[in-house]
Symmetry: C2
Subunit: 391 residues, 2 copies
């Protein structure tokens, strides 16, 4: 595995068409934020250095890194670089805000040849990607993720989205960034409570596709499991997992669904809490419940089930699961309704992406779309299991 | 050319990737509206007949054809077919309405396996396509265009969009319908004044790519130029032109820009009129001005320039160009500003797609993207030419 001091370059070859190759570059390097002007000029589809480059960031990240980024960009794209700041927080991820952002871009004179940079966490990335997709039917954009969750997961793969009153990420598109620039030093300013969201996705990626990362996490001392010293060196490997899966299945008709492990139950809990419980906490709970379902259905090997439960329980000890979370799990009707409205589910019922072994997911029945049908009874039983587990 | 009694099937092979072929079928047949349930079941990517099929239409078209369509659909998709009606008119094409439409779909239980049908003209088609693209990151949809403009142009090619305060179609995506079902008999109920919008695009297609269609239009008697007897038999050929160009260049980075002939000037006039002048009228005016630019730049052969001006003038005699249109042409500053904000234009100036001969467009300079740089002076001169022409 790479040390993060060095540079890791992971090209995602999205598809080879009769019109050539479409690629998204994922580049990981300490301090890359200082040279983004060069990096973007190098990778841009347009060689027009007069093109407008607009950075979208939020009120927190903007204060920390906005001017640094702008300085780097301005060296290359002197005439036309500017920054738009949105309010930090999930509430910004709405269609109304996407619309306001487009209005601002238009006022700045942003054209089809312009590019956007998303500097921030998942909210900034998802919203900026969505805007880049719909503005004048699509312009180029770059992801510069600054949270662990965004660096190992949400910034890679081209999923964009906004939330609606009836759920998170219910409206969105697939629109690939030209590149993702990951500067792990930005994690040094990340609030501790944000780390858990990234860790949850790292553990997920390990169970889905990489036993070695799983082993490394198991080897970490109890106290080190959430430390940047443990986590930073894993970033390139976790990005590589995501890159490989996305390259195989950009629009999630097949194996990309495996990255949803833990998310059917996790999203239901998150929704039921009206998003007062963090995504990472909910995904950890979701993985505990779904691992159990996989084991109950005779998909997940007993020994790997035990090992995964052990690691997930260690995480559970690190995070405070409130009385509120326990109460939520009592409302099984509501949770079932929410799981039925999950994007993977169909009119014929709940679907989950489930592991067979640590590092390998089930292809999920005869149609092989990596989504395993799960009866409502089994879903409720998994919630009961989770509830007893937490008691 | 085909008689429209028979069935014309035009497959658009969008691209051959390492994951297989993606195709949109364009099917033209009198009375096909009666069998849409069968047709959709046949072409659906999902063979699940329990899937939800939701028709989106407007208050005019819904009255005429909504229940007929629903009957045909219900035969195949009995459990889950329904209709959503939007208000007829361009004002419905907004992000706010797209959002409301998504809310309604969610309430109906529309999932990723569901499909939408756009029954109507360009407004219904563009809005429904946009919603199909963003709803849960994309669901399948079918176009059933009922205006001449939508049948020969806007329903084919996967452009979706909504209008903003700063312009038409400024937000949108490329999202291909699985199929386009064209029933020319629906034109029998089309208001006369709508016909001109379709005729403008037919003439455009002829100048861009098909000298034979151009000749046929020239051969039509003065009084027949806008008659359905002249126009209906041309539909399959005009659809084929669009299909071929879209197959070559789905996202308009190259030759698809040629279909914008007449639209740089046309859109500017349309915007300046606050959309009180119809699209077809503006495109006819735009083609007159842009043909003249092409001739001035020594791109358009003299003889073909004269022939195109002659046909366009015949059209001009058919349509009433108001005093208001003449006045608009006086505001050259505003028109220039609008042309500069056209999607084709860049920070370095106005771009137009211009003909070399009837049936062949200019590749447009060294980068060969079919967009010819036009100076602001030349643009203003073309507006002056148009103004004198109308006086």
């Amino acid at each position: 595995m790479e040390a993060t001091r060095t540079r890791a370059e992971i090209p995602i070859h999205l598809e080879s068409t009769n019109k050539g190759r479409r690629t998204c570059e994922v580049i990981i390097e300490d301090g890359i934020l200082d040279n983004l002007g060069d990096e973007i000029a190098e990778l841009s589809s347009s060689k027009d250095l007069g093109r407008r480059v607009v950075t979208v960031t939020d009120s927190h990240v903007g204060k920390l890194y906005g001017s640094k980024l702008l300085t780097g960009i301005s060296k290359e794209f002197s005439s036309a670089s500017s920054t738009i700041e949105i309010k930090a927080g999930e509430k910004s991820k709405s269609l109304v805000n996407a619309s306001a952002l487009c209005d601002k871009l238009a006022k700045l004179g942003t054209d089809r040849n312009s590019a956007l940079i998303a500097l921030g966490g998942g909210v900034v990335g998802d919203l900026t990607g969505f805007v880049a997709c719909i503005y004048k039917r699509g312009i180029e954009y770059f992801q510069v993720p600054t949270t662990l969750l965004a660096q190992v997961d949400s910034s890679i793969g081209g999923k964009t989205g906004v939330d609606t009153e009836w759920g998170k990420n219910q409206l969105g598109t697939f629109h690939q960034p030209r590149a993702v620039f990951i500067d792990p030093t930005t994690l040094d300013t990340l609030p501790k409570k944000e780390t858990i969201n990234g860790v949850a996705e790292i553990v997920k990626s390990a169970i889905v596709a990489d036993r070695r990362i799983f082993d490394r996490l198991c080897d970490a001392q109890e106290s080190d499991l959430l430390s940047l010293e443990t986590l930073k060196p894993l970033i390139p490997s976790v990005c590589r997992i995501k890159a490989q899966i996305v390259a195989k299945d950009e629009t999630e008709v097949g194996p990309r669904a495996t990255l949803n492990f833990g998310h059917t139950v996790g999203h239901a809990i998150e929704s039921a809490s009206s998003y007062s419980l963090s995504h990472g906490r909910c995904v950890i709970l979701g993985m505990i419940a779904e691992s159990w379902v996989a084991w109950q259905l005779d998909l997940f090997e007993e020994r790997d089930f035990s090992r995964s439960q052990e690691l997930l329980e260690r995480l559970l000890n690190e995070i405070a699961v409130s009385q509120k979370a326990r109460q939520l799990l009592g409302n099984k009707k509501e949770l079932t309704r929410l799981a039925m409205s999950d994007k993977k589910s169909t009119t014929s019922g709940i679907r989950m992406s489930l592991p067979e072994r640590i590092g390998r997911m089930s292809v999920g029945g005869p149609d092989g779309n990596y989504k395993v049908p799960v009866s409502n009874e089994m879903f409720v039983a998994s919630i009961n299991y989770l509830r007893e587990h937490l008691a």
